[in-house]
């Protein structure tokens, strides 16, 4: 038996399909290091393998099992009940009925998307902005709808293009379809586009070339270097921070059963709000005045003076 405690990250999809999971992986590794533990990554592809991986992780004697995504909602409570001594950190989702050894950490993505929309509104030259999502599911509306709301908030007269969805066989990994949709949007004079297409985002960025001055917004991590000059800013979901905090809390024993992360907690942010924006490769670096305005808006959201509605209206 290894003397070091074990931390396992079970991913719902192969890591790297989106940057979001890459961050989770990085977060797991850092958290394990901080706790003096060994980190392992188990990649799943579907509910059956998710279950297998959770089982395998618990059987391996993991102290903390990190699960990221909605995909775990149904399975985790069952597995958690079977392994009461293992602690499960569920990131980005939470089962409807609480389980003693499941600790949830969820995001308020819409807050950062709202700010991204504000950036779009403030920088758009054509006066038309829009969003592209991978799939038309409520969860992704947190990006697309809040983005539009943010733009409207700073510029009520702004025109919002109808949201397009990538769909197809492979919505999260079909850059060609992303490109096609974005290029249609751009040809309609939409010059700020929220790219909520995960692995398809590269195509969306590429389409920005069609219209001089057009720019997209990346998600999850800083995607600006991927397509220099075409990405304005990113809605960053700091899964790494959330996991680091969560694992630390679990090792210490003071992790709450339910935690949400938004702008206030540093779980959601824009690249422009973080240090190092000059070297980020993002276009927003050229708009210090906009950054200032958005920072102010962020403070208002944090303070609660500006309320951002959650587009994902879940029935309880």
């Amino acid at each position: 038996q290894d003397a070091k405690p074990l931390v396992v990250f079970v991913s719902p999809n192969p890591v790297g399909v989106n940057d979001f999971l890459k961050l989770a992986k990085a977060g797991t590794e850092k958290a394990a290091e901080a706790a003096g533990a060994t980190a392992k990554i188990y990649e799943s592809t579907d509910p059956t393998t998710i279950r297998q991986n959770l089982d395998a992780a618990a059987k391996e004697g993991a102290k903390v099992v990190i699960a990221v995504g909605f995909e775990f909602n149904d399975v985790l409570p069952e597995v958690a009940k079977a392994y009461p001594d293992t602690k499960f950190l569920l990131v980005d989702s939470c089962p409807q009925t609480p389980v003693a050894n499941i600790y949830c950490s969820v995001f308020r993505e819409y807050e950062a998307s709202f700010l991204a929309g504000a950036v779009a509104g403030l920088t758009s030259e054509t006066g038309k902005v829009g969003a592209i999502g991978a799939l038309d599911i409520p969860f992704i509306h947190r990006y697309t709808d809040a983005f539009a709301e943010g733009a409207k908030h700073v510029k009520p007269e702004i025109e919002i293009a109808p949201t397009l969805w990538i769909g197809g066989n492979n919505p999260f990994s079909d850059p060609a379809r992303g490109q096609q949709r974005a290029s249609i949007m751009v040809s309609d004079n939409t010059d700020r586009i929220m790219a909520g297409g995960a692995g398809s985002n590269g195509g969306i960025f590429k389409a920005m070339e069609d219209l001089p001055g057009a720019a997209a917004f990346g998600v999850d991590s800083n995607q600006c270097p991927q397509a220099p000059g075409l990405v304005m800013d990113n809605v960053q979901k700091r899964t790494d921070i959330v996991i680091e905090k969560g694992v630390a809390g679990l090792f210490k024993g003071d992790q709450p059963a339910f935690a949400t992360y938004g702008l206030a907690e540093g779980g959601m942010t824009l690249t422009s709000l973080e240090p190092g924006i000059e070297d980020s490769g993002c276009l927003i670096a050229k708009f210090p005045d906009v950054i200032a305005k958005v920072k102010a808006l962020r403070d208002e959201v944090v303070a609660g003076t500006v309320k951002v509605a959650d587009p994902m209206q879940l029935a309880k």
């Binding site: 890591v15 492979n170 079909d174 850059p175 490109q179 590269g202």
Partner: protein, 309 residues
């Protein structure tokens, strides 16, 4: 809303772009079909082409390098079908299904092992194909959008469509190929080396599909992502069937699909759910298939349709 504003030039432009890989694959399928090799491995061939193109472009730092890689590696990959279905007399359906799976597995595996990523590989080091701007027509409202701003591969695809058609129906080579496909033993007795014709045709078709793969990964996006052929190869198979191995009819089938696909995007922006608009191209294709096979079968017991020769 008038039709003109419904179908915008940019929509047509993007439809032309997105048809290109399918068109090249369909062309490849027709060629193979003409010499009597049923090719339904285009899905995998496109994927291999797309991957090799990205590798080549990244390694050589030039889009042309990427295109050459795509052609070379897809041709190599096509050796399996070229020899498997001829010299080794394997069943082409089985071989093609195996090839499609191998392509998916191999590209995903190599993606991880070569670049340490899974899912998507994008890097500024991948040089994409430039779009050819023809300044003379660039500003003409419709024409400019459709004919300018396309990659060389798109142009090549249409030129190849014409060239293949002429080759097929006007040259000795084409006549011989048609003969080989119609009755291999008859062609054999006329001194034609049937196997050689088949092998070379399948390999050439592999090159065409590789080109299509390059367009997929370098033409519009400069990215490789797992399974990025995403069913396009299958659409090409359908186009070959719809076109009954005639390059022009197959091209028309591709256009039909492209138009339906573009329309579906348009319908989406009208607020229809994408899950429903996504199926429009497939429903249109199914309808076309049904219409083109409309004649009622009379011989009931002896007739069974075998798609492959």
């Amino acid at each position: 809303m008038s039709l003109m504003s419904f179908i915008t030039p940019s929509l047509v432009n993007s439809a032309v772009q997105s048809i290109t890989p399918i068109l090249l694959a369909a062309l490849a399928g027709t060629l193979c079909g003409r010499v009597g090799v049923f090719n339904m491995a285009m899905e995998g061939q496109l994927l291999v082409g797309a991957f090799a193109a990205v590798v080549g472009s990244y390694a050589t730092g030039s889009a042309l390098g990427g295109v050459l890689f795509a052609i070379v590696f897809t041709v190599l990959f096509s050796l399996i079908l070229a020899y498997g279905a001829t010299v080794f007399k394997g069943d082409s359906v089985v071989i093609c299904i195996g090839m499609n799976l191998l392509a998916a597995g191999l590209t995903a595996y190599l993606l991880r092992q070569m670049f340490g990523v899974s899912g998507t590989f994008s890097d500024p080091g991948i040089v994409g194909l430039t779009k050819i701007r023809i300044d003379a027509i660039n500003t003409i409202p419709w024409i400019g959008w459709i004919f300018s701003r396309q990659t060389a591969i798109t142009w090549l695809a249409w030129i190849l469509t014409a060239a293949v058609t002429i080759m097929m129906f006007r040259t000795p080579l084409g006549l011989r190929m048609r003969g080989v496909g119609e009755d291999a033993s008859a062609a054999g007795t006329m001194g034609i080396d049937v196997t050689r014709y088949r092998v070379l045709t399948v390999l050439f078709a592999g090159g065409l599909t590789g080109l299509g793969g390059a367009q997929l990964s370098l033409g519009t996006v400069s990215i490789f992502s797992e399974d990025m052929s995403a069913g396009r190869g299958w659409i090409a198979v359908v186009a070959v069937m719809l076109g009954r191995n005639h390059p022009l009819w197959a091209a028309l089938a591709c256009v039909l699909f492209g138009v339906a696909d573009a329309l579906s995007v348009r319908l989406q922006s009208q607020g229809l759910p994408n899950q429903l608009t996504d199926i429009v191209p497939y429903v249109v294709t199914l309808l076309a298939l049904a219409l083109s096979h409309r004649k009622r079968l009379k011989r009931r017991a002896t007739e069974t349709i075998t798609a492959h020769a």
